[in-house]
Structure formats: structure tokens, C-alpha cells
Symmetry: C2
Subunit: 316 residues, 2 copies
């Protein structure tokens, strides 16, 4: 039986193996992804982002536990794209116990992916992993990223619903990053609500929220939680369900899906153009042009145009 | 007189105008960049990266002031690619006084660039801005970035010499990021050396340094500073000069220049391929393929290949 058939049957080892092949950039993987694609598009994708100090892994942990008990037939996957995530190994003791329960739950699939690598490479791999989990029948897929850079924002924007997690006492750096990331938030969780500085943090967040598109139909909801004590988790679960209903009713669900596919198509085109280009390059000709670049007889732009016109033409 | 002729004469307003055109992605700018390119390649490019809490802007500030007094004929430029940089407006009082002195110094050119925008776009714009300043005759160009993501690392790697700035008391997040960024460091500055926790921070850095390629010819130097009190600045200036001598003697200077040009050529090729592709796309044909993608009759990869074969062919 082919690997993708096993994935469609929900075989956990087949899923793990296919995601590893995707991570390694194995070229043979494309036919499996093509075969799985028609079966994807059912899952609710939920991006969870925020700095690692915010406790977003604990939140995901508790949310999955809650959602499984609320509806035991619902299968849930977690994709942690964050080297500092406890899902990647560094869990606190309390989390670890809960995570062991999750790990033994057949209805839950947890996977971490390394986030170092080529620019855009991880976004592409995460996108394929999500497709695999979607085709394998997971109804909710949490995608956890550390909200520190452009590619993390890109990964989060794959999701139908984006949760941004914050906590009191984060540094100024995080504040600057946060302003950018709040723009993509559908739900904002202010975690560690039992810690000092919570009032100031809430005030600051509400002030920032006022600046982010005041007239939209869905006003991002701000929810206070203490994830490690399971406080506020039900509220987040309810907000996720509310947001899904809003997306479906308003037609935004289909719109988001189309946007995501458009972005993925663009990525694929860029990747293929670049790879095919590299495959066709003659080292000798390239070296001649490159030498003239190093001597500054050609500018980078002039060198690029000269190489491109040598190796391809457009169908006019 | 053409804009690029004015830039070659060191006209500050012409420099500012050309960099703004680059930032705005003005298509007419390419001919100026092409004309300037043969005059570039002289400057020592120094990347300075680290989180904003590390005081890297104060360090650059004091370094430039020191280097100008050490050698008054030497012209220096600062390119701050960091929205949280004091050079972009948020300076502390002490810094602001020093920065005013720098701002009135005809031998110093300071410019900040926004770091939000298209993925890779800022790296490209920064690279062009550096070329402009280089052609305009600045002998040392500091490129300041906030060390939080892939594109910042990419910008820093433009430089001949990379300085990573750290300080005691930064969060765990920063630690995780730091491990990645230390790999590109030529000089490591541990700033705020008068603050509590300095011994632990130094120990942690030295331990991390042991893990980063132990057998290289240039061992990254660790220097303690208190930038706001001008302590340790001379040591950093000396390390920069040492590193330049090392690069020249070992042949690494030319090697780094070639690597940078190769990377820039690759970027140009990718950009041109993508832009030419978009220019030629027929909306109707694209929509037909995209509709089949949304219906999941084609996978993103299949849709991309179908579109590419329709609009271009390779010279075999």
C-alpha cells in the first residue's frame, strides 16, 4: 500500500514518515502530496503565536485536553514550529504530565518541526505538514509558532483562526513585534493573569487593539487565562468555536481558504522557477558572467538579466 | 546632472533621495544603481546586530564618534534597519545629545530604513542602500539590525565584519535566537557590563562560543563595554581594525565579497523571474487554473507546473 493511502487511513507512523520526508525536502514526496491534496480542506486550522515566555505551549496543551474531553470523537493535531516549544522537548513539569496524557491519547497527534533553515523553507514544509494532517482526518489542527519574525507570521497566517498569546512582563522588543502581530490576531489571550503587572498589560493590549482596524466585522476578543491552572481555557475554546461560526456565516472561511491557496501557489511557482533555473544553468557560462560581476563590469541586475535571457524565453 | 553623478560627489540630498527611491521600489532606480555599481566595493561593511535591549544603538553611536575623532578624514555611514532603533527616533536622552553631534558632523551619514515589508524586500533594499553609500565614498558603513529573525541575519551577513551585541538579563527567547546568531559573529560585545548578572552572562556566552566551530582561524573576540559611559569602545574599534587586517591578509575579504555578490545575484534572478512571470500572466488563464485548485482538482504543485509551462520555455 502506498504511503499516502496509509495516511488517509490515519496511520500515525505513515503520517510521521511523510512529514519527515517533507522536512528533508525529499523530491519523491510531491506525488504523495498531490494524491492527498483532494482529501484536504476539511480541518479547522488554528495558528497560535507569541513569544515563548507567554506560555503559549501550556495554553495549547490545556486547550487540546479540554477540547478532547468536550467532544471525544473530535481528533486534534498539534504542529509546533518553534525550537523553544515544550512540545520540542523542554516542557515544565506540570506540562509534561499533561503532555504525557495527550501523548497517550489516540485522538491526538503532536509533531514538532525545526524552524531553522532556508528562508521560506519552513513555511513551505509547515504548509505541507498541515495538508497531510488535514487529509489524515484531524478536524482541528493547532499550528504553534514563536512570534518573532516574518516567517512565523507567514506560518500563522496559514490558519483560519489566529490566536496571539501575551503575558505580563514581556520586554520592549516583544512590544515592538507585537504591534505587527496583533494585526493578524482573531483571538488574543493574555496568559499568566495571576502575575504582577496584569492590569498594565491588559491596558496596553486594549490600547494597541484600538489602533488595529477599528471597523472590522470581527473584533478580536481579549481573554485572560492562567493556563497552568486551567483557568480561562473554556473561554478560549468557546471563542475558537465562535470564530469558526463567524467565518462560515460571513463567507470569510472560503475567502481565507482561497487566499491561502493563492499564497501557496505563488510559493510553488517561485520555487519551481528557481529550481528549474538552477538545473539548467551551465557552470561555465555562469562563471564567465559572475567574473564580470566580481570585476564590477556588470551590476548584479545586469548579470541576472544576461543569465536569464541565455537560459529561458517567455511564450509571448 | 544625473542623480548618480551627485551621489558620486557625495551630495547628501542626492544620497537620501536615491535611498528613498530604492525603499519605494521605484523601477527607474535600477539605471542609477547600475551606474554606481562600478564605484562601489571600497567600504568596510560592519553589521551590528542584537536585540534592542542590548544597547547596540548606543554602541554604534559611541563607536562612530570615537572612530571619527581617531581619524577625522574617515567618512562613516550608519544604516539602521530596525524599527526600534534610536536612530529611527526613539533615542534616550544621553544618546540623543551624542547623536545630535553626529548629525552635525559632515563626515557622518545616518539613515534608518523601515524593516516591515515584503519578505526579502528589506534585505534587497538594504543591500542597494549599502551600495549607494559605498559608491558615495563612505569608508566604513555600519548596518544595524535587530537580531530577531531570518531576514535580519541575512542583512547582517552582507557585512565583512559582524558584531553581535548582548547584555545581561535578556530573556530566554533571546537566548534561543542568540545561538543561531553567534554563528555569524566576528566580534561579540557584552554591553551594560556594569549591570547585575554580568558574570553569568559572560559565562553563558563563553560556553555558547565553545560550541560554535572551535577550529576556525579567527576566534570571535568577546569584549565587555558600557557604551553609554564610553567604556570599552576603543577595544571594539581595535577589534574591527584587527578583523579587517585578518580578512585582507587571509584572502577572506575577497572571498566574502564574492559570496555577497553571489547571494545578490541569486536574489536578483529570483526577483526578475518572479516579476517577469507576473507581467506575462493572462488573468483569464490563471483564473481557470486557480478555480481547479480551489476545487482541489489540481494540487498547488500541479497548478504551478501547468501555469509555468503555459507562459515560458527554457532554452534547451
Amino acid at each position: 500500500m502506498e504511503l499516502h493511502d496509509l495516511v488517509l487511513q490515519g496511520d500515525r507512523r505513515a503520517i510521521a514518515r511523510l512529514i519527515t520526508l517533507v522536512e528533508n525536502g525529499d523530491p519523491g514526496v510531491q506525488s504523495s502530496l498531490d494524491a492527498l491534496f483532494p482529501h484536504s480542506g476539511q480541518a479547522h486550522l488554528i495558528g497560535v503565536t507569541g513569544s515563548s515566555g507567554s506560555g503559549k505551549s501550556s495554553l495549547v496543551n490545556q486547550l487540546v485536553y479540554y477540547l478532547r474531553r468536550e467532544e471525544p470523537s473530535r481528533r486534534i493535531a498539534v504542529l509546533a514550529v518553534d525550537p523553544t516549544s515544550p512540545f520540542s522537548g523542554g516542557a515544565l513539569l506540570g506540562d509534561r504530565i499533561r503532555m504525557r496524557e495527550l501523548a497517550e491519547d489516540e485522538g491526538v497527534y503532536i509533531r514538532s518541526m525545526a524552524s531553522r533553515g532556508a528562508l521560506g523553507g519552513i513555511a513551505r514544509a509547515a504548509s505541507s505538514a498541515v495538508q497531510i494532517l488535514d487529509a489524515a482526518g484531524y478536524e482541528m489542527i493547532f499550528i504553534e509558532t514563536v512570534g518573532a519574525g516574518q516567517s512565523e507570521v507567514e506560518i500563522a497566517s496559514l490558519a483560519h483562526t489566529v490566536i496571539v498569546v501575551d503575558a505580563p512582563g514581556m520586554g520592549d522588543d516583544i512590544q515592538a513585534i507585537k504591534a505587527g502581530i496583533l494585526e493578524i490576531a482573531d483571538i488574543i489571550v493574555l496568559n499568566k493573569a495571576d502575575k504582577p503587572g496584569i492590569e498594565a498589560a491588559e491596558r496596553a493590549l486594549r490600547a494597541m487593539l484600538m489602533l488595529v482596524e477599528p471597523n472590522q466585522e470581527w473584533i478580536p476578543e481579549l481573554i485572560l487565562t492562567v493556563a497552568v491552572e486551567q483557568k480561562g481555557i473554556a473561554g478560549v475554546a468557546r471563542a475558537i468555536a465562535d470564530h469558526k461560526r463567524y467565518l462560515t456565516r460571513s463567507g470569510k472561511w472560503d475567502q481565507k481558504v482561497a487566499e491561502r491557496l493563492k499564497k501557496e501557489l505563488d510559493n510553488q511557482i517561485q520555487t519551481i522557477l528557481w529550481q528549474e533555473w538552477k538545473n539548467r544553468l551551465e557552470p561555465g557560462y555562469f562563471q564567465g558572467v559572475f567574473d564580470r560581476l566580481v570585476k564590477r563590469q556588470l551590476s548584479p541586475n545586469q548579470a541576472a538579466r544576461s543569465l536569464i535571457s541565455q537560459f529561458m524565453k517567455w511564450n509571448e
